[in-house]
Amino acid sequence: MTPPPASAVADSMTSFRRPRDSQANIDIMAVTKGVQWPYLLALGIAILGVIQFFATVAYQTYWGFGVAGYQAPVFWGLYIVTFVFWIGIGHAGTLISAILFLFRAKWRNAVNRGAEALTVFAVITAALFPVLHLGRLWKLYFLVPYPNQRALWVNFKSPLLWDVFAINTYMLTSIVFFYVGLIPDIAMARDRATGIKKLAYTVLAVGWQGTGTQWKAHSRTVLHLSGLATPLVLSVHSVVSWDFAMSLVPGWHATIFAPYFVAGAVFGGFAMVINVLIPVRRIFGLERYITNYHFENMSRFILLTSTICGYAYGMEYFIAWYSGVEAERTSFWLRAFGPYWFSTWCMITFNVIFPQLLWFKKLRTNLPFLFVLCFFINIGMWFERYVIIITSLSRDYITGAWGLYIVSPVELSILVGSFCWFGMWFLLFLKAFPVIAISEIKELIIHGKEHGGAH
């Protein structure tokens, strides 16, 4: 066979004819292009919220916690409630990206990027609360085992310290996981970007070009990280739950807490994922990639975890009664019929009763319905933590010390601020990185070609 004609000999790639780019690239990268006015509006509101958030924290730190609504014997209030809420939100992300990955559930590919982003930002938000609820915020470093000449370390027996480690581990590991998944897409973006953006992508892409060795290392890494993240995600909310379960307060001191909290977390997490993805999909026209099929699968998870929560609620009451301890019984009786009955019934209605509607396929695939339902679920899950923390504390062993906790405006403003903080990060993410894992989508597309044969 003769060697190819000299004319065909090129000394650079430039001579290749430029093929049309992958449709997935175009569609999904379109999200990051340009700025839509609703986007700007949302971002603006979020940033204002973040400013008032930090202003409020500064105000509270200066004057002391008198400005918050604490009333003995309730020494934890909205801050811890909201902390647990946000930590919970994160869990769906890790579940989708790690656990479903291990189960080789391919449908996750369309939603895992969004979910992972959600995880990272939720955890970053949650991490604010244990900090800002410190009576002496400027002594935060006391909670860290740092070398000091007094040779005084920290109390490794304290659930709060476990929290410090669990949350930081969770935050860092999620970020690593998130980043590793992003690398191929960043490289893709790098190839199509110009100017400063290109520079940034180039650095972040750490020279990714999809060679066989790189893909191999990458896939192993994702596998191992999933293997690590799976027990981690189960442990984090267990540790958080032990903040309560390890104490003696009637209504807190229960062995069911760890699984109960984890199920609740996944439950609330999925609700949040749906609440975020439905608008994103709608606004940026990603219906081709995120389909009813995905939402239906997620609804199934919601149905499952909601049922587990329902069981946990029931079991809590049963054990309280079965234990025969008057303080426990009283505590739970007052949850349902005491001064905080409202939050309890919100919790039960939104978390257990409403989701049962998902037994119907019609509703599982009805996005407006899903959106509203998940909105309520988020409220319900917030109230779940409120019920657990506030009601239990307000009615414990020494009846003479009983009291009530009344939320203060300062705490509410911090609660709102935390949502803005979360929103801000997510909005910025939308413009920075592809909201769907393009390389994983391509995997599916190309497989499709294989079996579809020609193209």
Binding site: A58, K139, F142, S158
Partner: protein, 997 residues
């Protein structure tokens, strides 16, 4: 926001950086050593000086604890016969008078502007001399009762300046009791009751434990007389005949809820019965006695008192069968129109019962002027109104507050001169102000009763430009050209005390002899009296009971923040007035806790928040005396941001203006018409509910149960875990040793049976440990900082309630008596739940078993407080340490105790500073700390010795021995197995009456 200093800046950095900003403590202060060391002062070592408490007329002896020339605490003088080293809450708090923000800084004069303007002593005295000369013969000198020496000086001064009148004024003057005693026994003095000598006390409302004539003394006598180790039968019995369950009654054995003002009838009935049985006492005018006692039968009395006849008959039998019975006359709260006759009847009764001379001492009358009667005071007010009093000198008293109509009358007095040390409603109306020293800065003496002479010596160099009232009168007198005694008041005092070894007397605190009994003429004058049932003015449906507030007395203690903040022992209300009424009454009005009702009497109307109660009759309401001041940082609403606004109700203006026999003041003389106003005012209630829901927090055991063998409290109660135990609780759940072989495991035993809830320990704790007073707005949010609180439960409790958003009012029932007081400091658990949850090791277990709290290490997660099963941890919501010790109050801080900063937890430390103080000498002498060398502040102050502190490792220590009582000893919440260092001894129910358990 104040200007930003370094601290605040760092705090903000802390926010900004979210971390890593090094917080820092107070600004740098320089320690300047003495150039020449005063002999008596060793820096760091406290010195005690003997003195006398002037907060109430009881005249308890003091040891003023000073550090570097600064009084920091008041404790009882152990040598003093009246209080034997103990001191009530009011006495403890009176230390604050020296450092009070309300103190007048110096002499003042009302200027042209109508405002008081600072001036000099020379100027103000010169002016006063002038006025004294000008109004010779019409000057009036008005003041509270003072010590003998000062009294003599004032008397002399009165002559010299030719004052028309000198009036000694005391709101709680007990005129009726004086008069009654005179009629019955021929001597017009206040009887002294040694209730400890009696085996049966019938209390017609004297409230002798709380607000009586000598509470600290009587409380001690009563507790000792009921000590179960000494008296297997439970000792003295107490039957109270009162319409409202007061603190004394809570410690009693039976409560007859007699109609308000009916104690007189009961007394007469008892007198009749005893007279029939025992006959006329020797030397008495039989005819007069018979005439006086008349024909009151138990039946008529029972009807008047609206109590079952059976109960009254039973009471009579009890009285006649008792060996050493005594009957106590009604106190201030129950001084009705027939108070004099009632008192006479009671004293006559005591005479017939043979109590006079043994249990009741009638001291000879003193030569000092007796307090004026109400009639005299009203006459004075009339004179003032008519402008017949151009010059009025007022000292040691605040009549503008405590005497209706006086304030208005003052406007017609050309010149009002006040010697008051604190700003009050009278001195704020004065034209000339010659402020007296505080009690801590002045010389003086007191003679609470004949034979007991007690010295007041200064322990603090005057902080302000004030002058001892004695010296003021001396110099005024001399300037007026009269022959006053030579020298300064101190020299006058010393010469008055000539004949005793001055130094030695100073050291001891006075000359303490027995009180001689006066020679009595029994039942001579009594014929002049004729008894009639009490009359109540006005159309109202409810009797208005105005009772002395446990801590405010006649209102003079209202300016002391601690007295405002420490919860009233009966209702647990802080910082404000309340209107007690029965649930039925509240229901009929359609009001609940905190709803404001208006109370209208023939004399006026007041409004206040309702406190519904089981412990009061349906036909009566009760309002505490002592609140409602419009002047003062703490007495008025000033420290809650509303200066000049009255704090709560001043009930005195709405009380009847009628007077009793001999012109005595009537406190219980008005009916009240109640009407809801629709308003609601939340009042600070430190204890949400007194229902212990059967949790055995404060169990009770009966005498029979005590005698029977078997189950002890530790098993029956404390959570119903574990069975009987032979060894004392502190050994059946030993603490986990921080380091084995330690000599000490500090612990405490608290005897609930001795505790009467008087809260002296709470006050002591506040002052010893620099505990911040938070004010009403914070107290309403349950943000009190008290390290030691006394909880009050009624009965074993049940499962009712708990769901309310408003506090659950108390569960007392009329006529039933089952109140348990539970002092609750940190339990210093051997397995403390707070320790395991603290991430920073800020709270940990010391090697001596104390649950230590390291403020500097605390980051403020508040987890410990959540996990503390006893809820004894307190959080610094604000920068209390800097903000809540305004002005000079900072000077009374105990230098041995850290002042806590914003955002840290704090709690009872077992007075660790006192432990260390005891450790030093022990170390020097190469020995261990002996039992009794460490005395915590609460233990030191407890009038009934209910608290014992000591080393639990030493089985011979008092605390160990005290807790060695398998029947009564228990741990609160024992089922949690927290191994607390505090062992409680359950209260004992002495007699089982049907329906009273």
């Amino acid at each position: 926001m104040p200007e930003l200093d370094r601290r605040d800046f760092l705090k903000l950095v802390g926010v900004g950086a979210g971390a890593a900003a090094t917080g820092c403590s107070d600004p740098v202060e320089k320690l300047v050593p003495y150039v020449v060391q005063p002999q008596s002062i060793t820096p760091g070592i406290s010195v005690n000086y003997a003195s006398t408490c002037t907060e109430c007329p009881a005249g308890c002896g003091l040891h003023v604890k000073t550090r570097e020339g600064r009084p920091i605490k008041l404790e009882g003088n152990p040598d003093h016969p009246i209080n034997r080293g103990k001191l009530c809450a009011r006495g403890q708090a009176s230390l604050g008078r020296a450092y009070h923000p309300d103190r007048h800084a110096g002499p003042m004069k009302r200027g042209a502007s109508g405002q008081l303007e600072a001036t000099t002593w020379d100027a103000v005295q010169a002016e006063l001399i002038g006025k004294l000369q000008a109004s010779k013969g019409s000057t009036v000198i008005l003041g509270g009762p003072v010590g003998p020496t000062l009294d003599a000086v004032i008397a002399r001064f009165t002559e010299i300046v030719g004052a028309r009148q000198r009036i000694v004024y005391e709101p709680f003057a007990y005129e009726a009791l004086r008069a009654g005693t005179k009629s019955a026994l021929g001597v017009a003095t206040l009887p002294i009751f040694d209730v400890g000598q009696a085996d049966l006390i019938i209390d017609l409302g004297s409230d002798f434990i709380d607000t009586g004539l000598s509470p600290t003394e009587n409380a001690r006598q009563f507790a000792d007389a009921r000590d179960l180790k000494k008296h297997a039968d439970g000792g003295t019995r107490l039957v109270s005949v009162v319409p409202r369950l007061d603190l004394t009654t809570t410690k009693g054995d039976k409560w007859l809820p007699a109609r308000a003002g009916s104690q007189g009838d009961v007394a007469m009935a008892l007198a009749r019965a005893v007279l029939d049985r025992r006959g006329v006492p020797a030397g008495a005018d039989a005819e007069a006695v018979q005439k006086f006692v008349g024909g009151t039968t138990t039946a008529s009395a029972a009807a008047a008192a609206d109590i079952p006849l059976a109960d009254l008959d039973a009471l009579v039998d009890q009285l006649l069968n008792a060996k050493r019975p005594v009957v106590l006359p009604p106190g201030v709260a129950h001084t009705a129109s027939n108070a004099t006759e009632t008192a006479a009847a009671v004293m006559l009764l005591n005479a017939m019962l043979g109590a006079i001379g043994t249990i009741v001492t009638i001291p000879p009358p003193s030569d000092r002027p007796a307090p004026a009667t109400m009639v005299e005071m009203q006459a004075l007010v009339e004179d003032m109104k008519a402008g017949r009093v151009p010059l009025l000198l007022i000292h040691d008293s605040d009549p503008a507050y405590s005497l209706p109509g006086f304030a208005d009358a003052l406007t017609n007095v050309a010149t009002v001169v006040s010697f008051s040390s604190l700003d009050d409603q009278t001195s704020s109306r004065a034209h000339l102000l010659l402020p007296d020293h505080s009690p801590m800065e002045t010389w003086g003496d007191a003679e609470p009763r004949p034979g007991v002479r007690s010295i007041i010596q200064p322990t603090l160099r005057p902080l302000l430009d004030t002058q001892a009232i004695g010296d003021t009168f001396l110099s005024l007198g001399r300037a007026a050209g009269g022959a006053m005694p030579e020298g300064s008041f101190r020299q006058v005092l010393e010469s008055a005390w000539s004949g005793v070894d001055w130094r030695e007397t100073l050291g001891r605190g006075g000359v303490f002899g027995g009180t001689p009994g006066a020679t009595l003429v029994i039942g001579q004058g009594i014929g002049d009296l004729s008894f009639a049932s009490a009359k109540l003015d006005g159309p109202g449906s409810h009797a208005l009971i105005a009772f002395p507030h446990s801590f405010l007395g006649d209102g003079r203690s209202a300016s002391l923040p601690w007295m405002q903040e420490i919860p009233d022992p009966v209702t647990k209300i802080e910082w404000n007035s309340w209107i007690e009424m029965s649930f039925a009454t509240a229901e009929s009005l359609g009001v609940g806790f905190g709803d404001v009702v208006s109370v209208a009497t023939s004399s006026g109307t007041v409004e206040g928040s309702v406190f519904p109660r089981g412990g009061i009759r349906d036909d009566a309401i009760a309002i505490p005396i002592g609140q409602g001041h419009t002047v003062g940082q703490f007495a008025s609403m000033a420290n809650d941001g509303a200066p000049g606004v009255a704090r709560g109700i001043n009930v005195m203006p709405v009380l009847t203006t009628a007077t009793g026999t001999g012109g005595s003041r009537i406190w219980l003389g008005s009916n009240a018409k109640l009407s809801p106003t629709g308003k609601f005012r939340r009042i600070a209630l430190s204890q949400w509910t007194d229902n212990q829901r059967g949790r055995g927090l404060a169990p009770q055991i009966t005498l029979t149960g005590l005698a029977a063998s078997g189950e002890g409290q530790g098993g029956e109660h404390g959570g119903g875990h574990g069975g009987h135990h032979d060894e004392p609780p502190h050994t059946f759940t030993p603490a986990f040793d921080a380091r084995p072989g330690q000599p000490y495991r500090w612990g405490m035993t608290i005897d609930n049976d001795r505790c009467n809830g008087c809260s002296a320990c709470v006050a002591a704790c506040y002052i010893e440990n620099n505990v911040a007073v938070v004010g009403e707005t914070q107290a309403i949010q349950h943000r009190e900082m008290s390290w030691l609180r006394i909880e009050r439960y009624v009965g074993e409790g049940n499962l009712e309630g708990g769901a309310e958003r408003r506090p659950i009012p108390d569960r007392e029932k009329l006529g039933e008596l089952d109140v348990r007081h539970l002092p609750l400091p940190c339990q210093h658990c051997g397995a403390a739940p707070c320790e395991s949850v603290c991430p920073t090791l800020a709270t940990y277990h010391t090697i001596e078993g104390i649950n230590g709290m390291v403020y500097n290490r605390c980051a403020g997660t508040r987890y410990c407080a959540n996990n503390c099963s006893y809820k004894v941890r307190r959080f610094n919501y604000w920068d209390y340490g800097n903000r809540n010790f305004p002005g000079m109050l900072g000077l009374m801080l105990n230098p041995d105790v850290t002042v806590r900063g914003q955002g840290v937890m704090e709690k009872c430390s077992f007075c660790v500073q006192r432990i260390e103080a005891a450790r030093q000498p022990a170390k020097d002498q190469k020995r261990e700390i002996r039992d009794g060398e460490v005395v915590t502040a609460c233990q030191q102050s407890c009038p009934t010795n209910a608290i014992t502190f000591g080393n639990l490792r030493d089985a011979a220590s008092a605390a160990s021995k005290a807790s060695d009582d398998p029947k009564r000893a228990y741990h609160v919440l024992r089922m949690l197995n927290l191994r607390p260092a505090i062992t409680y001894l359950a209260q004992v129910k002495r007699d089982e009456h049907e329906g009273s358990l």
